[in-house]
Symmetry: C2
Subunit: 459 residues, 2 copies
Amino acid sequence: MDDEKESLVDQALLLLEQKDYSGLRAFLGELMPADINEFFEELPEEKLIVLYRLLPKELAAEVFVEMDPDRQEYLIRAFSDAELKATLDELYYDDTADIIEEMPASVVKRILNTASPDMRKAVNELLKYPEDSAGSIMTTEFVRLKKNYTVQDSFDLIRHVGIDKETIYTCYVTDDKNHLIGFVTVKDLLLAPLQRLIEDIMTENVIAVNTLDDQEQIAMMFSKYDFIALPVVDNEERLVGIITVDDAIDVLQEETEEDFAKMAAITPNDTEYLKTPVTRIWFSRVPWLLLLMISATFTGIIISKFESALAALPILTAFIPMLMDTGGNSGSQASVTVIRGISLGQVEFSDTFRVLWKEIRVAVLCGITLGIAAFGKVMLVDHLMMGKDEVSWTVALVVSMTLFLTIFCAKMIGCSLPLLAKKIGFDPAVMASPFITTIVDAVSLVVYFVISRQLLGLT
Amino acid sequence: MDDEKESLVDQALLLLEQKDYSGLRAFLGELMPADINEFFEELPEEKLIVLYRLLPKELAAEVFVEMDPDRQEYLIRAFSDAELKATLDELYYDDTADIIEEMPASVVKRILNTASPDMRKAVNELLKYPEDSAGSIMTTEFVRLKKNYTVQDSFDLIRHVGIDKETIYTCYVTDDKNHLIGFVTVKDLLLAPLQRLIEDIMTENVIAVNTLDDQEQIAMMFSKYDFIALPVVDNEERLVGIITVDDAIDVLQEETEEDFAKMAAITPNDTEYLKTPVTRIWFSRVPWLLLLMISATFTGIIISKFESALAALPILTAFIPMLMDTGGNSGSQASVTVIRGISLGQVEFSDTFRVLWKEIRVAVLCGITLGIAAFGKVMLVDHLMMGKDEVSWTVALVVSMTLFLTIFCAKMIGCSLPLLAKKIGFDPAVMASPFITTIVDAVSLVVYFVISRQLLGLT
């Protein structure tokens, strides 16, 4: 699929070089907006306006929505008022609101002045809602029916207004106070006799969300209930908009990428990696590295406390990395599992004890397996093969016991911290590998030294 | 939202205790299939069949699709042939195929014997496609139009066959050889005059996928192009099925969870965490822990090679955890970023040099920042505050130089390994934190000891 895309871009670039604009227009007309945008991204900004003017009005607007804010701003500044108006007229209200949020004040002013009064009103409404709320991703364009309409009336209405509506496949039924009382799908309408009343075919049991509900929870509802649209009501249960499945998918992906970033100790950032300036990447990574480095000081302190022990039996140092890494890995296995469970709404704080009990048993199993493996490995590799006499079977025992206890503590910490974070209103995703590792390092070292003191009689 | 759900389940359980079956039927009738299933999951299996029989036929089938395989199998065994037939008749072909894939042979046999000839044929077709292919997630039920149909004909056809079709909002136009030549949306049909010919309103530039295309790439197309359905063609370009947006969302989520698992060194497993048996969790985690533990042997070997140096200046040991962790974190920041870029199709092997060049600059910035911070921290905390005289400014210099080089190597390894893995056909997701950490540990130790030997004149 990618190669195909590549070659498309090349063909278009060729036509451009040949200044074959009519050919280019025909060619672009065949592409999807997202692909045209990818092609545009290969171009220097100054070429942009020329090509943009080649596109048919509706397609042009669809491409415009796909562009990154910098290029949108560049185009808006390059537009004549007429061109700006033409573009805005083709945009959906929610897309316009999204674009405005990214623009500097001067551009916003120009957009709002050029927009139709309806759009201006709708956009101002949409801009009121907090980021990540249902209101911020909904559209105010949808088909509104009354229960005393016939199927025929409804089709006439859809034909009349439908062309401007983002989705017409689910029509919502409201009473005279604009309260949501049901919905009918176009499928229902098509399969019903034309004279049937909406109230006879509508589904009254309609799931709606509030304008202030969290967008991630709503996106999850789409995947759970297989909706293609979901109505949004205000605090008085009045229907104010709908959220469409394509926006829900975008939210799901956005939130997932944020989690991946946080779990790798990176501040999330919504621009594509290759398009993000080096300094911004640096800035999104370095604070976490600093924080984690400083917190690693404790492990250092612990080690220096046991300097004498290490001096007495230097070989003990050789096992430190293995013990710390295994602890870190065991911990993050548990934490990542629980973090995802929380994000997917499968694990809640009330499940803490079920989770702990599960992880205790898993930890014991993993601990035993690795403990035995480690004992064997130390005796076989270090003692026999490498012939290190100082690696006695007691040392091997110390290592494998430490490993067992480290894994146990790691799993406990790993599974409980995300739940705790969630409880106190922190983002569980931050409690992933890096933090768990730092904590588990300290724990494993203490365990290691305490056990070696006991079994090896070191001071 | 969750509390709401909880209380629903409680109400239903209450009605059940009161044996108020008519009340229960009415109550369940108001719920979404997914919610009914969640309620059923609270119940012992033997109660299942009683309640299932309370549900209206269509709803019952929708709930059945939501259930986990064990309960589906239990129900099928409990069904009379008539009940099984009634349920199957309500199922979509692709759902039936999915269910069959999870059932033991005896149950499969019974299902196929009971199913209608059409369903049997369709299901057998669907089962032929490899897992994770377009064919395995498509449905063979869709509306097929001819270009010489009128809009009126099309509506009649939709009314006639539509009720059984999973999605009717996009209708596909095929020629007499069944080749895909275009599509019309119901929106197009509604907005066109009834006597208009399909060939006049259909969109000829239709994006289709092949039955063998990878499901993840296809799911990405949905999010990129905002499709609600996508046609699937065979190698002869004949239309064989469609993929609907709800299945695409499921694929997106499935693949995401697999990546999260792999990146935490866990073998992916598609059952909910709290429902997964302890032994299976253990089995999905322990092999990776073992592998990583064994590979950590090298770091051990490196340390013992430098035993004398550590013995001469024991304080050096205290900085090992901090150096290793910072290296690991820097490395996974780079690897996770690149891994996600690859999954999202934003980074390809051909970008390797752009990626390296970006990471080189980020690494230098991070390295300098942390190097300076570390120098200050060591001099301030360890030297002054803790008054360790052995921590000279040379030691501090050794630590900060090691940190700089470690971060640099870590970022290089972290960003290049996933691309390399992709190139040689490995899953890049496996090249995440755990593996990067193990490799970076070894690197950081070598750097550490070489530098200390040079600057501190240790042998």
